[in-house]
Amino acid sequence: MTRSFLIRTPSLLIFIACLALFTIGVTLAAHYGLMSTSFVKTLGKTLCLCLAALAMDLIWGYAGILSLGHMAFFALGGYMIGMWLMYARTEEIVVASLLNSGLPATPEEIQQGIASQIFGVVGASDLPTIWSFAHSLPLQLALVVALPGLLALIFGWLAFRSRVTGVYLSILTQAMTLALALYLFQNDSGLRGNNGLSGLQNLPGLDAVSQDSISLWFFWASAAALALAYLTLSWIVSGKFGSVIRAIRDDEARVRFLGYSVEGYKLFVFTLTAIIVALAGALYYPQAGIINPAELAPIASIYLAVWVAIGGRGRLYGAVIGAAVVSLLSSWFTGGRAPSIPLGFMTINWVDWWQVLLGAAFVCVTLFAPKGIGGLFDYFTGLHTPDRKGAPLGPDQGSLQEKEAIE
């Protein structure tokens, strides 16, 4: 960590300090009973969404690749950790019940018991091959990184090698997440079809520990992961690598003539961000308690892009702020706590109208404040957009627009 790095990234220390204060505040509030366990979980989950948004900003805001499929990696990360959680919990239950029946249980009997417990709902009683590693936490943790990473590597290699860019790439990533969701919806996919995995909030072997404590553990882990990712990504984007990917965003053809393999860089960023998002998912779903294929719906990945846009793309703190603000507002509005507005002829019930409000906010940001919430920081620190008479900063589709740039 050199001095010049800190000088080039003044927002880093401020961000880490704010996150630390927030974490301490929540911990104290939870400790003194001022905050419910479920709200601690909501905040912990929000931090995971911020982590995903951070990765989205790296790929879209910095590299200009509008991937609309990254929440597929988020869900896959969740599924991978969920498999271990469910297996290990079920194993405890099965072993306990076999003990009650008197006879010492053989490993086959235990395995059979686990399989019929987990897969009874989809009418199967054998453990599918993809559950081969589910008994082992280290192996399943390795899969959290390896499976989404490999999928991103293969998908990215195919897409970038054929130089698919812009809207076509976005559509392709939507197709990827949709295809994966449809596959997982099938009962014989081996992941319990539309039932998904549940009971993930119960950590195996920790029956004695209350959810109050577990929720705080996950909250801390989520905060630590966010801080670590923020630090790493700040370091990446402040150096020459960041310069290369911003150059790719604005004018990829020119980057090629400088000798950089544009496809290689895109693949690198696509895979790296997929892994970050998968880790975020692996922290998120134990707090949510349940995961099912609906989590891979194409709309989920679009939301991710909306958060980054509302926060302001191309600045890491913007993505975090966007994700936090929008997802917290969303849980407030959809949680039924927002007061309905009676208009006489109709009533605005926020559970239904929140989506409309979000859509309108997105349109307004795109049209009137392309820098998003992050633009407020520029305003207060006296930074201006350049006067380019409307010309974007590069010829490519994903390039920085005049109103997003800083003089």
């Binding site: 050199t2 990446i236 150096g239 020459k240 690598f241 310069s243 290369v244 911003r246 150059a247 604005d250 004018d251 053809a253 020119r254 980057v255 090629r256 003539f257 400088l258 000798g259 950089y260 393999s261 544009v262 290689g264 860089y265 690198f268 350049p386 380019r388 900063l393 590069g394 920085l400 740039a405 003089e407």
Partner: protein
């Protein structure tokens, strides 16, 4: 003397229109060459072929001592092999500072992993300062390239080209948007570089070409119309008819 770049029998058609027609061209390892020709003669397309942007329908392009074919290589690999290019329209990274633009171009490892670990060393810094000094941008290093004037962008791009330390430089209309004094400086720079490297310059300005004082290739409708000293080609009746006569 063996040639650094050899292009032979190259043909390119866009939708049936032959932009390059059986073109043959070669240049030595330390040679300056000017290419002139009317608009649409195929000068930029020729550079597109050498740099891998456009794949020819037929013909061969070889480069280096081993006469390796460039046709199967990607743009990035060709650039790494030692072919640098300055575009007709200045193309610099407008959202990045002059320093960042030069750093991107600086000769160094290009793979993502190596770039991730790259940190600026004092030698890189002084090289960037020297380059900026050379093209008169020393006072503009922290400015964003988008704020520079057209002429300054041209200079920045020339400096980026030099930073790459290529063996062959393809320079498309370097003097457009420059003042007379700047043009003279550009000529000096190009003549100087060509002492150790191969330089191909496309230019419309005849005064500029005269000052380069080098062999001239005249392109017309995608093939070579004449080649030789400027005085030699300007006396050629075909050249007068298709190019000079119209000016």
């Amino acid at each position: 003397m063996s040639q650094l770049l050899e292009v032979s029998g190259v043909t390119v058609s866009f939708d049936g229109f032959r932009a390059i027609n059986n073109l043959t061209f070669s240049i030595g390892p330390a040679e300056l060459r000017a290419i002139i020709g009317p608009n649409g003669a195929g000068k930029s397309t020729f550079m597109d072929i050498v740099t891998g942007k456009t794949k020819p329908d037929s013909g061969t392009v070889t480069f280096g001592e081993k006469s390796a074919s460039l046709l199967k290589l990607s743009e990035a690999k060709i650039a790494r092999a030692g072919v640098g290019r300055k575009f007709q329209r200045p193309t610099v990274f407008e959202d990045q500072t002059v320093t960042e633009n030069l750093t991107l171009a600086l000769k160094a490892a290009r793979s993502p992993w190596r770039v991730l670990g790259w940190r600026s060393k004092p030698a890189d810094h002084s090289r960037i300062e020297a380059l900026a000094q050379q093209v008169g941008l020393a006072d503009h290093l922290p400015r964003k390239a988008g704020e520079l004037s057209h002429g300054q962008k041209q200079w920045l791009e020339i400096a980026m080209l030099l930073a790459q330390e290529p063996r062959l430089l393809l320079v498309d209309e370097p003097a457009a948007g420059m003042t007379l004094a700047e043009r003279e400086k550009t000529t000096e720079l190009l003549v100087d570089i060509a002492k150790t490297r191969a330089v191909v310059v496309v230019e419309h300005d005849m005064e500029f070409v005269r000052r380069l004082n080098c062999r001239v290739t005249v392109l017309h409708e995608g093939s070579v119309l004449a080649e030789g000293s400027l005085d030699h080609v300007t006396k050629n009746q075909d050249v007068i008819d298709v190019y000079l006569g119209r000016g």
